[in-house]
């Protein structure tokens, strides 16, 4: 590291870092152009000179700009990370980046970044802090955790994460501690979409991995692989190559001109909540006209095609004419697209995500979309709907003999279920006990309380723990779970959740959350409601394992490694947890047997990746030098289900004559390992029937257990379309309010990334010009948007009182569906420092560094007559979990608008 020659005196630095409570003493603003980092640390100076690439050091690592996680190269000059580029060895990203990779630099060197442990000194939420030492912070956290663990109620430690890419590390800690409550945010993201994948294929394969590079036809129901989708970077370039170089066609159904809609060969603005109608009508056409693949269906689907034909075709309920009436898409267009899709098979695939799935009917809508692929038999085929062998390397399905990478050392066991008779069960509210008693045994053995396994949403954890994160603050408020210590990690419910104001009320209430620890790189809305703030290291300062599904369909992995020493006293979460484990003791420490330092952490990852290092001549050092590894000797993950059962699995197995299922005793449990097909033992799909489960009785079981009305379409075993009640009955003067995310932003996490926020810092309400005309509006008018409660079987349905209102200006946009108004959801921050709030001007006394852009150049700040930082929309969106699965129905918000003078 280069020695810093002009650092401030340590005393000054301490003063600057002391935070608002003590800040008055720090006095004057910092001189402009003088970023202040801790002593001995290199600084970013005013206008930086050109990088000399022949002298700068290139270090590969993994981007953390979004959930895609591309391999990148960081160029370090004089100890400062100057440039991020794609890693050409990354076969997934193909050596390219998007705008957000650049933000690794701007968020790491962000002047208002959180760099020291801070303890609350005022009232909770008041924003008054004092800096404390790591020793004091660790003693505080570990002391409390030790007490909780000793109390016999380890579940009262709740670890709630938003973006955890430590790949198992925090789970390791929570298991070692004994709490099941390592909870997440999957339900506000993708659970409605993952449930159909789990049901059909037995895995969501960390997303399916459509082979878009080799496809001829893509039908996209509201997925946004060019702006928001996990794996977007891996898909966007391949889709464009397929379209431009190989003549593939892409058809998109969306409610607004998303990037995929804009670049598609055909874009159809669709009435919200009716994507499924088009899919079911396409199924109708394919079945009726005999365009399906009978061989594939017979071999791999768990019900006869006749059953499907009867369900979809015979009573004429899913005709294109019906779909036209519901969705507004012309019947003949649907017919043509269905025929073209089937004709392109197997080089065709569907895509879907929030547009189709984040609705009350989203799970069943997506089952209809998945059905299209199964009908034409493109599953696992080149150019088709492919399934990777799970994150490319772990080898749990399909590919055998892959190098294992996992946390070295002893493995803590999972927390025990809350069975009748345990003190945990005794504490549950009566109505929850009653429901749990109705569970089948398999679910009772999985049930670990309302936060991790909410009893009213069994399909949120039947396959694996997706959980229903948006309901967790409510559950705590309702007394469904007691909390002693709540830890937020890279998590922003206070800003980003539906009805975020409800979360804030819960976090403010010390009787519900007696102690709140917040771990993040930045001072967020969530952090503001904590008692202790712990500064995490950014992606340029840390180690993490990397795994994503690989779009080349071969084993692939990489390593995130530090390019610089963590600034200030930031510390990666792994080291925090290691220290707590040693302080708590009681056996926890044996799971964290490494030194408490960055070097100690490297030692851990070196062991973690021993099998990958072994593939390199220079071992660990060479793997680090390359950053990414893939195994090109492997056959691509095409048709994994046709691969023979391994000799190891065949040994001692037996075949059920009726079903053809090959089962074997593994660890005392009879487990399905394959299926006989034409006299040959093949792997099939990792489902209970080893076939694609188009018919899945688990929906019926779940509906019956939680007491949905008999025949409710959420609980039907066959894929079935049904309307979103509030959209189906929408009045002429009502509109559907949809939120969305621009490509340059990453949910609520990017407001302080200066280059991203410079591009998008305003979020007008977009609407079709005809909608504006209908409501007597012109571009630039101000309106008030008021959102109503939903009408389905969900939280606070049918209440008359609206959820809330916000005011914003109107911007006409031709590509928005006339029944829709939309607004981007990642703006209007009231924390995250100056950039996110568009507060240009002198450094605040507690700023940890300075940047000319922050002090002088925020041209969109209201103080510079700019439009400011936009409007926060998440308070007015109702908590609206889908029945059974619990995914947030983000896109069902029926709203009224009022013109403001």
């Amino acid at each position: 590291m280069t020695k810093n020659t002009n650092s401030l005196d340590r005393r000054d630095l301490l003063k600057l870092a002391m935070g608002a409570a003590a800040a008055v003493a720090a006095g004057a603003a910092l001189p402009v152009f003088t970023p202040v980092f801790a002593e001995d640390e290199p600084r970013k100076t005013a206008r930086l000179g050109k990088v000399d690439y022949t002298k700068a050091t290139a270090i590969p690592t993994i981007c953390f700009g979004c959930t895609t996680h591309c391999g990148v190269i960081g160029w370090v000059e004089n100890g400062v990370v100057r440039r991020i580029e794609g890693n050409p060895l990354d076969i997934n990203s193909r050596g390219k980046i998007c705008s957000k990779a650049n933000a690794m630099i701007s968020y790491t060197y962000y002047p208002d970044r959180l760099l020291y442990p801070m303890k609350r000194v005022g009232k909770r939420g008041e924003g008054k802090w004092k800096r404390i030492s790591w020793d004091a912070a660790n003693a505080e956290v570990a002391g409390r955790l030790k007490k909780i663990r000793a109390s016999g109620h380890p579940e009262r430690f709740v670890f709630h994460y938003g973006r955890d890419k430590t790949k198992g590390f925090t789970s390791h800690f929570c298991k070692a501690f004994g709490t099941p409550n390592r909870v997440n945010r999957r339900s506000i993201c993708s659970s409605n979409r993952r449930a159909p994948l789990m049901s059909f294929y037995g895995r969501d394969f960390e997303w399916e991995t459509q082979d878009v590079a080799n496809t001829k036809y893509i039908v996209n129901f509201g997925a946004n692989p060019m702006e928001a989708y996990q794996g977007g970077m891996f898909l966007m370039g391949r889709i464009q190559d397929a379209r431009v170089d190989h003549g593939a066609r892409m058809v998109t159904f969306e409610v607004r001109p998303s990037t995929p809609a804009n670049v598609s060969d055909e874009y159809y603005p669709i009435r919200p909540g009716t994507d499924g109608c088009v899919a079911y009508a396409m199924c109708y056409v394919i079945l009726k006209e005999g365009l399906y693949n009978p061989r594939f269906w017979k071999r791999w689907v768990n019900i006869p095609i006749e059953t499907m034909r009867k369900h979809i075709v015979d009573d004429e309920k899913y005709t294109p004419e019906w779909a036209e009436q519901k969705s507004g898409i012309p019947a003949n267009t649907i017919r043509r697209i269905a025929r073209e899709f089937a004709k392109a098979a197997p080089h065709c695939c569907t895509m879907s995500n929030r547009g189709s799935a984040k609705h009350y009917n989203g799970v069943q809508a997506d089952r209809g979309i998945r059905l299209l692929d199964v009908l034409v038999g493109n599953v696992g085929k080149p150019g088709g709907f492919c399934l990777s062998s799970l994150r490319g390397w772990s080898g749990k399905y399909g590919q055998d003999g892959l190098p294992k990478i996992s946390i070295p050392g002893p493995k803590p066991s999972s927390p025990k279920p809350f069975l009748e008779g345990t003190p945990q069960f005794a504490e549950l509210p009566e109505h929850v006990k009653t429901r749990v008693r109705r569970f089948p045994d398999a679910w009772k053995k999985k049930y670990t309380g309302e936060l991790n396994t909410p009893s009213e949403f069994p399909l949120a954890w039947h396959w694996y723990a997706m959980r229903v994160g948006q309901m967790i603050p409510r559950y705590i408020a309702e007394g469904r779970a007691k909390v002693d210590l709540y830890m937020s990690f890279t998590y922003g419910a206070a800003y980003g959740y539906p009805e975020a104001k409800q979360s804030r009320e819960v976090y403010k209430d010390e009787s519900l959350i007696p102690y709140h620890v917040c771990i993040d790189i930045n001072y967020s809305e969530q952090a503001k409601l904590a008692d202790l703030l712990l500064p995490d290291a950014t992606s340029l300062e840390r180690w993490d394992a990397h795994s994503q599904n690989c779009h080349e369909l071969i084993p692939y992995t990489g390593i995130r490694q530090p390019l610089m020493k963590p600034l200030g006293e930031a510390r990666p979460v792994q080291l925090m947890m290691r220290d707590w484990a040693h302080l708590i003791g009681g056996g926890m420490e044996k799971y964290f047997d490494f030194e408490s330092s960055m070097d100690g952490l490297e030692g851990l990852y070196e062991k973690w990746y021993a099998n990958i290092s072994a593939k390199h001549k220079g071992g660990w050092e060479e793997f680090k030098r390359r950053g990414i590894w893939h195994d090109e000797t492997r056959a691509k993950d095409y048709e994994l289900y046709e691969r023979p059962v391994t000799a190891k699995n065949l040994e001692g197995s037996r075949v059920d004559e009726k079903t053809g299922l090959i089962t074997k005793e593994i660890k005392g449990k009879r487990t399905t390992v394959g299926i006989m097909q034409d006299g040959k033992p093949v792997q099939g799909f990792p489902t209970p029937t080893r076939r694609i489960q188009v018919y899945d009785p688990v929906f019926e079981l779940a509906a019956e257990t939680v007491g949905l009305p008999k025949g409710d379409p959420n609980g039907l075993a066959l894929p079935t379309w049904f309307p979103v009640p509030e959209i189906d009955s929408i009045a002429d003067d009502e509109l559907v309010f949809t939120t969305f995310k621009w490509n340059v932003h990453t949910q609520g996490r990017s407001g302080h990334w200066k280059h991203q926020t410079e591009i998008v810092h305003a979020n007008p309400v977009y609407m079709h010009p005809s909608t504006g005309k209908r409501f007597g509006l012109k571009n630039g008018d101000r309106i008030e948007v008021t959102v109503k409660r939903p009408k389905g079987l969900t939280y606070r349905a049918n209440e008359k009182e609206p959820v809330g209102s916000f005011e914003q200006t109107v911007r006409f946009l031709e590509g928005v569906h006339p029944k829709v108004i939309c607004c981007s959801h990642h703006l209007g921050h009231w924390e995250h420092g100056r950039m996110a709030q568009a507060k240009a001007g002198p450094d605040t006394p507690d700023a940890v560094s300075s940047d000319r852009d922050m002090t002088d150049n925020v041209w969109w700040a209201t103080s510079q007559d700019g439009p400011g930082n936009g409007v926060h929309t998440n308070d007015v969106l109702p908590l609206n979990p889908a029945p059974l699965v619990g995914g947030q129905n983000w896109n069902d918000n029926v709203a009224t608008i009022k013109k403001l003078s």
């Binding site: 690439y53 060019m226 804009n262 490509n743």
Partner: protein, 222 residues
């Protein structure tokens, strides 16, 4: 000796007669990788844009078009004769750049440029514009925008070399300059540039809230 990795620069410039960028709009997804990479590469101040991506509405169409823009490195660059201090210069490979030691911030170049590709750095007061990443191409690397582009929209090559694949691509698809009526003979060439898009983007390259045809709220150049 360990194997040389693909990102390690050769250290040698590529000999080029006319260095330029071909922008294949059929591929563009408007992701801003180019514009933000440019900002980081050159530490360009907020409010100044060497590279921009415009989102353009077309009348009566539901789909938006994307348009990355940067200095067009004109063969007849009007900024060069306009500069009273001869700071605006042309390299041997045709690229147009600012000789910073000569620039005194008079802004004549800004007035002369039909593409609003030049702005003043707010702190230094010196003209700021794209130089096709001279410091990168000097050591055998592609410009930052090209190196980042995930959809293969931006490509760097020698447009006077008939064997250069980028030059061939331009030939094959009838690439053309932006607003050729300005008679500046741009070296930056577009494939798939729609006349309606070209017509909509008349003045400032950046987007502005008052402009109807563009939808991001961004700063219009001063």
């Amino acid at each position: 000796m360990p194997e040389r990795l693909p990102w390690e620069p050769s250290g040698k410039p590529r000999a080029m007669k006319r260095a330029g960028i071909v922008i294949d709009l059929r591929r563009c997804i408007g992701c801003h990788a180019c514009s933000v990479s440019c900002k980081t590469e050159h530490d360009v101040a907020l409010g100044v844009f060497r590279t921009r991506v415009r989102y353009v509405e077309r009348p009566g169409k539901a789909q938006l078009s994307f348009l990355p823009m940067l200095c067009m490195h004109c063969q007849d660059a009007p900024c060069i004769p306009a500069c009273p201090t001869t700071a605006m210069s042309k390299g041997e490979d045709g690229r147009v750049y600012v000789n910073e030691s000569k620039c005194d911030g008079t802004t004549d170049c800004i007035a002369a440029c039909p593409y609003d590709a030049i702005q003043l750095d707010p702190q230094t007061g010196i003209a700021d514009k794209c130089d096709l990443c001279q410091h990168r191409t000097d050591v055998g690397m592609d410009p930052a925008c090209v190196a980042s582009c995930p959809s293969g929209t931006l490509r760097f090559g020698d447009l006077d070399d008939p064997d250069d694949p980028v030059s061939k691509l331009a030939q094959e698809h009838g690439a053309r300059g932006f607003r050729e009526d300005a008679k500046t003979r741009p070296t930056v060439q577009y494939i798939g540039l729609r006349p309606s898009v070209e017509a909509a983007v008349t003045g400032g390259i950046q987007l502005h809230p008052e402009e109807d045809e563009v939808i991001y709220v961004q700063k219009k150049s001063d």
